[in-house]
Structure formats: C-alpha cells, structure tokens
C-alpha cells in the first residue's frame, strides 16, 4: 500500500466520487469494498502521523495516537480476513479518488502550524469520520456479500462513530480558528 496522505474523505465522497460511488454501489465487489475501507484507514493513519509531527498540543497528539492504534488494529483484521478468504483487495475508482484527494488535503494541512493546524486537523477528522461512517452505513456494509467482511465493517463503523464523537470533543476543546498561520 502506497503512502496515503491525509484527506477529507467527505470531499471524495460528496463531490463527483460520491455520486459515482452511489451509482457504482451495485457493482462494487467484496475485494473492492475491502480496499476502499482499508484505504480510508490508511488515510487516517497518515493524517495522524502528520499531526504527531506538526502538533505540539497534548490533546491533539493523544487523539492522533488513538487514531493510529485503532485504524492499524482494524486494518490488520481486514488484512487477516482477506488472506483467510483468499481474496486480493482490488484498487478501484473510489479508492484511487480517495488517494488523490488525500494528497491535496495533506498538502494543505502541512502548510499550517500551531493552533491553526490543530483546529484544521481536528475539524478534518470530524468531517472525515462523518463521511466514512456514512459510506460504511449506506453503501459499503449493505453491498458487502461475505458475512465476515460485513461484520468487520460493522465493527469498524461503531469504532469510527466513537472517533467522530471524540473528534467533535477535540474540536470543542481547541480555541476557535483565527486564520491560517503559515
């Protein structure tokens, strides 16, 4: 898996890709669904790694460490499952679009520093998890055929719903944005 920098999955799913994804839903295979979910996890790990590098805020760093730990745990389970099922995750339009958008968002965030970065990262985490959770709930889980994959995605959804709330608390705890500091 290539490095997938931070992105706003929402941008990927809400703009053209989201419409495309909804249209593609019936066509998505389990290997494609697995790859989309794995890619989203990798994107959030990359976002967290950027936060660990850029931020000096204790709460932001703690949150980022939580994201790395949880998304790695879920992705390890996903890899173990596809190995067990003897299927190879397939790259597809949606995962490619995620990766592409990730590059742009990572670039944007990496220009920010201090409190501006912290707030932008935390807000991005809220939006990212909202969109991932929406995609899991409305598209990926309903379209998964294999029961074990469906179960893992459902567990992932509950974990990521927790992340969404956690990120909302983090946003509330940080000072309001006063503009980007470059």
């Amino acid at each position: 898996m290539s490095k997938l920098p931070v992105t706003l999955l929402g941008a990927c799913l809400c703009l053209a890709p989201y419409g495309a994804m909804a249209q593609q839903a019936a066509k998505l295979t389990d290997p494609q669904i697995a790859h989309i979910a794995y890619t989203a996890g990798q994107i959030d790990i990359q976002a967290a790694e950027l936060a660990l590098k850029q931020s000096k805020n204790k709460e932001v760093k703690a949150f980022a460490n939580d994201m790395v730990r949880d998304h790695k745990a879920v992705n390890e389970k996903a890899l173990a499952l596809v190995k067990k099922l003897n299927v190879k995750p397939e790259d597809n339009d949606t995962s490619r679009q995620l990766t592409q958008q990730a590059g742009a968002k990572r670039k944007e965030l990496s220009t920010l520093k201090g409190a501006a970065f912290d707030k932008a990262y935390a807000q991005n985490e809220v939006a990212f998890h909202q969109q991932v959770n929406s995609a899991l709930q409305n598209t990926l889980i309903p379209n998964a055929s294999n029961g074990e994959l469906k179960d893992l995605l459902s567990t992932g959804l509950k974990i990521f719903q927790g992340h969404e709330q956690h990120a909302e608390h983090l946003v509330q705890s940080l000072p309001a944005r006063t503009g980007a500091v470059h």
Partner: protein, 105 residues
C-alpha cells in the same frame, strides 16, 4: 446498651441487604463497542472488572474523572469502588460507549 442496639441494628441491616457482601468482583464486558451490562449496582469496597473482548483498546472513565482504567484488547482491568454515588462513565477513545455504576454504601 445503646452501643449494643446500634450494633444489632447494623448487623440486621447487613443481613437484610439483598446485595452481595463488600469485596465482591463484578464483571463487565467491553464488547461490540459497548459496555455490558450497561448499568451495574455494587457496594463500596466492591471491585469492577472490565474484560475487553474488542479488537481495540478501551477505557472505563468516570465522567467526574474520579476513576479510570485502560484495558487493552483481550485483557482485563479492575477498579475498587471507594465512594458511594452514581457514576456515569465512558470510554475516552470511543465516547459512544457509555455506562452507569451505582455504588451503594
């Protein structure tokens, strides 16, 4: 005499209590990103033991911050309840996990 009456009253009170004696260990599961059971009633001196059956770490954290335990996947974590009261608690990592502990004297 007065002391004897008080002692007898306390003893009778203890006998009449339907709850388990202090020092009991009460298990709670962390499973499917939820606490089960969601509400537990214990006595001061009892121990709560959370067993994490999920694939990610959890905490049991009192909202008033008076107690907390971090529990890794597949592991258990304990807290002795030292003060009476009603405690709402969450997992700090996944605040959608909520529970309530009622601690009776």
């Amino acid at each position: 005499m007065c002391r004897l009456i008080i002692l007898a009253a306390v003893a009778l009170g203890m006998l009449a209590s339907p709850a388990s004696p202090a020092g009991t260990i009460r298990p709670i599961l962390m499973k499917d990103i939820a606490f089960a059971p969601k509400q537990v009633t214990v006595h001061v001196g009892d121990t709560l033991e959370w067993a994490n059956q999920d694939i990610v770490a959890h905490t049991a954290t009192a909202k008033d911050k008076s107690w907390e335990v971090n529990v890794l996947p597949g592991k258990n974590g304990r807290v002795v309840m030292k003060a009476a009261g009603t405690f709402d608690y969450i997992c700090r990592y996944h605040p959608n996990m909520t529970g309530e502990i009622i601690i009776e004297p």
